[in-house]
Structure formats: structure tokens, C-alpha cells
Symmetry: C2
Subunit: 227 residues, 2 copies
Amino acid sequence: MTTVVPVEKKVLHENQRIAGELRKRFEEQHVLCLNLISAPGSGKTTLLEKTLNCFQKNEKVALLTGDLQTENDARRLAVYGFPVQQIVTGSVCHLDGKMIERALEKWELAALDLLLIENVGNLVCPSSYDLGEAAKIVLLSVTEGEDKPLKYPSIFVKSDVMVITKIDLLPYVSLNLERMKANARQVHPGIEIIELSCKTGDGLDVWLAWLERRRDSVRERLLCARS
Amino acid sequence: MTTVVPVEKKVLHENQRIAGELRKRFEEQHVLCLNLISAPGSGKTTLLEKTLNCFQKNEKVALLTGDLQTENDARRLAVYGFPVQQIVTGSVCHLDGKMIERALEKWELAALDLLLIENVGNLVCPSSYDLGEAAKIVLLSVTEGEDKPLKYPSIFVKSDVMVITKIDLLPYVSLNLERMKANARQVHPGIEIIELSCKTGDGLDVWLAWLERRRDSVRERLLCARS
């Protein structure tokens, strides 16, 4: 078992190199890349569905969605008319830079301005693999308990935003929402927190506004680059 | 990246060797060992709390609970008066045989007849690491969506039972429960399915009866060995 750590380090180091190249390409092409991470069933695909539903049809958005098996998520997302690719990882518990690089071979990056990546449902391993994204976004549903940021700190430390999902279920679960938020801020004092329900639509405007702000900052850099 | 697979194989092979030794010890000592696996927040600790609460104080039960960080679960479980050890894995996304072996050094195995292991909250990686258990038990809550057995087949294939948790939330989520069960049976036709709510207590009797049946079969083997 002693050989694991150096090999894991080597794998992560190689991933970091590829992620660095991806980040450079995203920045040069003015593409905002976001990496959505959560446990299985926290609502990543549903949030993406609601997001795509609010976009104009001519927006330059594309999606990559990772799962161990099935093309279900790609099928769900494809109905909104934007380019989607499913990355089926087999037994691999996370997406890595190489998978993103390979998927992007099929697209013209210059034709995009937003790339949304839905990672494999896993609160642990995806946090170790940089995909060149501008920001990680962690989703946590109100049914998962307030202690998760303390138990799985890495992803909460590395995420710009925590999206608390399924707030419509708050009356039916024994969650201390304030404690959940305090726990997230304990491990990452600067983390932004957005609470929403894809069922009722509550809070979706806050999420969309956050997304627009991030897209605006990329657009501003594009204008500066052209002027 | 090409060195990963052989090393991973070597790690899994070594884990299998340790798990084999553990399994032999559990069988020789007539200890029923169960390995509970689920995504974070599906209710493993809560199910264990409800289970311990139904046990007589003199029952020979012990618990190991895994998390990346915090001793929260061990604290929650310790109040029932049975021996509990928290295994803090740091950044490791699963429990492995070595961790169990090390934890058991502190206990006299002959003094136990049931060992309940709560794995790290992760629907992917723990399925690859045998802990010498007599059975794996996968938990899936009704909030996680009906497609999870198809997306994460390995753990559903390897589990004797799927426990569907939080059925009290069924009226508030858009889950097709029959589809969820059909999906589990599609990947593992023989899987037993138990539906319960730790909040209302519905179905807990079915879970406890399943547990008793498994404990009875170990007790019978013990009687045979002594006669």
C-alpha cells in the first residue's frame, strides 16, 4: 500500500498540468467554465435543467455531464437545445482533466462562452481533480444534514459557492439550516451561499444573478481584450 | 497515468487478502459483520441509532464508523452504550481492510456477535473495498432519485439489501418508487428491498427482522460448532 501515495501524487500532478492548460484555453477563448459537484441526488441535473430553461436559445452554452454509467443526464439536458456530451467514467469516481480535454476535441471552444460541467455524484473524490474551471460550485440538499461541510471539508473549502437545494423540503426535515450555513462558513469563511428550490423556483433568481455576474466579468475581460 | 491501474489492482489485491483474513476471523468467532454504504446524508447513522435503540443493553454489538473528518457519528452512536470507534480517514474516500484490522486490535472479537460498520458517505469507492463483511447494505433515500441504481450499479450489485430511507418524504418528492425498485432489480435481480422511515418508524420492524434473521443464522452455526 506504500506505493499508493507517490502514484496518486503523480496522477494529481499530471492532472494539474492538464487542468492548467485547459484553464489557459478557457481564459484565452473567454469561456466561463464552472464545475458542479455534489453527492448523488443533490439536484445538479435539475438545477442545470432550470438554468438552461431560462437561457435564450442563441446563448453560447455547452454542457459536459459525468456519470459512472448511463447517458440519462445528457438525455435530460439535451432537450434544451444546447450541445451536451455525457462522459461515462465506467468505475472512475470523478471527472479529470484528460476527460474534459478529450470531450472538448469535438467542439469549437471559440463558439462558446459558458461551459457547465456536472461532475460524478460524489462529495469526496471530484474535489481533488482540477478541471481548469473558473469556479467549483458545491450543491448540498436540505435532506443531507447540517454536518456535511465539516465531514467533507475539502470540497467546501475549494468551492466559491454552496448552493443549498430542495429548500421546499425544509418543513419536512429536521435540519438546522443556520447551523448548515455556519458549518460551511467555518471551513470556508468566504463561501457564498445560495438557497433555492428547483421545484418552487424560490431562490433561482439569486442563482441566475450570480451566474450572470460571473458571465459579465468574463464579457468585460473580452471587451478589454478587444479594445 | 498508465501506472495507476496496476497499482490500483495491487492495492485492491492486498485489500482482498486482508479482507479474507478478517472474514475468516469473523466466521471463526461467530461475529456477523455488516457494511453499510450510501451517499452522504442518506441516513446511515440515523438507521444505526434507531437500531441500537431497539437492542437490549447486554447485546454483544459494536460499531465502527468512517468519515473523512469529525468524530460526530461516533459521538451520536456512543450514547446507546455499545462500543463505538470512529475511523477518521483524512482524505481517503472509503474504509479499507487495514483500517478495520487496526480498529479491531482494541477489541476482543470473541466478546462480540454483531459488528456494524458505517462506511464513508460515498456511493462509488467503498464498493471496491471488501472489509470482510458477511453482507453489504446499500441505503438510498427517496430524495436521491430513482435512477441511482443504474448510475452507480457496482454497489447495488454487491449489496444483499437495499434500504430505501426517508419514505416519510414520499408525498413531497417527485419520485417513482416502483421505478427505483425496478432499477435496483435490473442491476441485481436478487436484491432484497426494505422501505423505511426512521422519522415515523414505518418499516423499521422489517429491517430489524432482516437483521435478526441474519443474526439467527450466525447463532445456529455457533450452536452447530459447539455440538
